[in-house]
Symmetry: C2
């Protein structure tokens, strides 16, 4: 779509945006890009939601520049859509009302590593892999791993989690404090570097998960952890999903501090085995990882093995050596590509829900029945320790009928999770895709969110059209 | 002070409050109490801040009653001060603008225990000891232990933590979701029961720590934990505070999952030994507790012992038997009374700050020097794994000079903590006492807090005069 067409399409903000682009161009020169390729790349994400391009993309290089941009955009009521690596899944980076995509990937410095305090301070464009590479010689690591090599700013903005969350928590738990540019252009720091605080409202947690709608994150102070003395991974097959889930519940109740406990259903295992040449059976399985001292890791694995056996599962095929572990988790991390091979030419659309773990087996069983009844192909994998699972729909994007069936399925899935006292999204966020379910899940609490948004961003310039229905 | 004097004292809200009391009396009868003794008991807390009584105390028995009260008070712009057990320390329950103290202690039902999901739902008046008594036969427990047998609603409202926080986190980490009556009388539920969610703004964390200024908590969904297979406690002396702090840093860096790690300085040890007949030396010491399997607990104790020795400390005097452990922690929990015995007739005023753990030894050393220079008597104990410590000032409350010296000391302490990138309060909250430090600590972020408060409670009826300067 040409810029002129976009301009014609959104009259409400139009005049202001046009002025803002012109002023920003004078101010920032070539770092404000209006070419279509770049604009398209900034509105593209792995989703079924159609691309909606911004009017321009700005590549920020400092916090002060972000503040200047927000102030200028504020003067012209011009939307700003923060952009990290574009790996979000619910249309978070789309620009439905046009405006400026604020690309933070050049703000990629690790500003401080405080080894004694187990924390670090980074700019938002640092990716989780870049941070861990930077930490390599310190004996420390940052555990949150949503799969993609996402930016830490984006991970905080979407409250990301992933495979390690069962032990290390989500971004909610691992951001000590952050600095953000608010809609009025003011720079605030939400907390100092103490490990805990009772000093006023928890603005850190308010901004984590706010998806760029309340402020633009410009610095993050993150928790770090010592690399465990010993790590052991393993795969354990089960007769069915229910027995695997029951084993998970008992493992967690027993206080086994598993670092990762991931479920792959039979179809997912079939895909993973074919793609990664794993020497295991295509039965529902748990992928596990244990962290600790050598004896603790051995004890954890033994205890889990006994619990699995009680539920008809096992044997636990253990991978202690680094290369074996790497192979196993590569298979899990490459699951998306493995799944695509189940239906060549298809696009994989991932959706996620999260329920109390006592309802997980039932939720997955009903969902599998629903997938079959709807004639869809959709393997299921899950961060089952948290009650969180993903369905990857393999879709022919040229078939309107199939996309409609998938959308209807996703609506039923979200409603099923909410009916089980769960959430329509455990880790992907609301973005555009899940807005319709928020009120079903949270009722009048959504009005409180809207009141906060209106108070902090009265002109709705920060990522409009996201989260709130 | 007689009611008539209070009425005369606060003209701004006066007419409304008088009307509200009259309407509430008609609506609720004897459960609205205006007698001075009850009003005084609801404005009393362990603090140097003078008592400021409400006009009446309402004993709520249900969520609907709370909503009705808030609506009626809203119509008459009448302040509402939520009250749990009155164990807060910074004047949180004072009624500086009069109004209604909302006593939630009769809302004391455990509504559900979901053992498979390791969570429970309780009313706000349930105390932590009552919850743990209720859980006795389930093999589960709720770990947060701020010392006092506080109500869980109050603990959430003040973001309480305590001795177990180094392992189990604070109330921030252990409230899955909550139900609250907002200033407009609407009842909202902030989250469903899933262990994690990315569905919109984190209103749970916004209300946790908001000290009754944004909403009245009427239900809490809390995390539970399996009682560890094995628990071992111990005391370990050190030559000085610095070496104890260094041992703590190394213990945490090594990933030893200590459940409790508490510092008592030499004066505190002297008090504790005298009060609890402990058979240890009056040197700076760490009180520890290890949770896990038998072998893990043994390994943790051994590893800690080696680290302590490296720093000139030890030997770790271990208490494995339940009675020995109980004795040890009783000594820690009764510390307040032990401290009072250091200066018979004095009142103990506790204040708390929290700094990055790398700055802890330095902060405590400077604080001890300051105590001496100011001619005060004030033992120090700390949740040192979190960088959090308390100073208990033993004061002659009849000496205006001494109180002034204590207030000046507390101001210097808060500023010292902030200068070390810490917080003016790690767990006690802001209340009235720490309002003056909030802007020094958080700058313009305080404006964002004020904007949120104004948007959600435009008439400032929920606990006015707290948190915000």
């Amino acid at each position: 779509m040409a810029l002129a067409d976009i301009l014609a399409e959104r009259p409400a903000r139009r005049a202001g945006i046009t002025s803002a682009v012109s002023v920003l161009k004078q101010r920032f020169g070539e770092r404000l890009v209006t070419g279509e390729d770049v604009r398209r790349a900034h509105a593209h994400s792995t989703t079924y939601i159609p691309t909606q391009m911004p009017d321009a993309v700005f590549f920020a290089e400092s916090e002060d520049e972000v503040a200047t941009l927000v102030q200028l955009c504020g003067e012209y009521a011009t939307p700003i859509v923060a952009f990290g690596t574009g790996s979000s899944l619910e249309g978070h980076v789309n620009a439905p009302e046009g405006g400026i995509s604020l690309d933070l990937s050049r703000m990629d410095k690790v500003l401080a590593v405080n080894a004694e305090d187990l924390d670090c301070t980074v700019e938002p464009g640092v990716t989780r892999e870049a941070l861990n590479a930077h930490l390599r010689d310190t004996g420390l690591f940052f555990p949150i791993d949503p799969g993609a090599n996402a930016s830490l700013g984006g991970m905080a903005a979407t409250r990301a989690s992933g495979t390690n969350a069962v032990r290390y928590g989500t971004m909610r738990d691992n951001v000590i404090g952050l600095t953000a540019v608010m809609a009025d252009g003011k720079i605030i720091r939400t907390a100092r570097r103490a490990k805990k605080t009772s000093a006023g409202y928890d603005l850190t947690r308010l901004l984590v998960g706010s998806e760029g709608t309340l402020g633009i994150i410009t610095k993050l102070n993150l928790k770090l952890y010592g690399i465990p003395e010993s790590i052991r991974a393993g795969v354990c097959p089960f007769p069915d999903v229910k027995s695997a889930c029951d084993a998970v519940i008992q493992t967690i109740q027993a206080g086994v501090p598993v670092a990762r406990i991931e479920l792959l259903d039979a179809l997912s295992m079939q895909a993973a085995i074919a793609h990664s040449q794993l020497d295991v059976e295509a039965r529902p399985s748990l992928f596990l990882e244990f962290h600790g001292s050598q004896s603790s890791v051995a004890e954890q694995a033994e205890l889990f093995g006994a619990i699995a056996e009680d539920h008809g599962g096992g044997p636990l095929k253990s991978a202690a050596r680094t290369e074996e572990r790497a192979l196993l988790w590569k298979a899990r991390h490459q699951f998306y590509w493995a799944a695509l091979a189940l239906r060549p030419g298809a696009k994989g659309i991932a959706t996620d829900v999260c329920v109390p773990v006592s309802r997980l087996a039932e939720c997955i069983a009903e969902t599998q029945g629903d997938i079959d009844a709807a004639g869809l192909i959709a393997p299921i994998v899950g961060h089952v320790g948290d009650g969180n699972f993903h369905v990857t729909l393999l879709l022919d994007m040229d078939s309107a009928e199939e996309i409609a069936a998938a959308e209807a399925f996703m609506a039923r899935l979200a409603e099923r999770a909410v009916a089980m006292d769960g959430t329509c999204t455990g880790e992907h966020g609301v973005g555009q895709g899940k807005r319709g379910y928020l009120r079903k899940e949270l009722g009048d609490a959504v009005d409180v969110m809207a009141t906060i948004k209106k108070a902090l961003d009265p002109d709705n310039i920060l990522n409009p059209g996201k989260i709130l229905p």
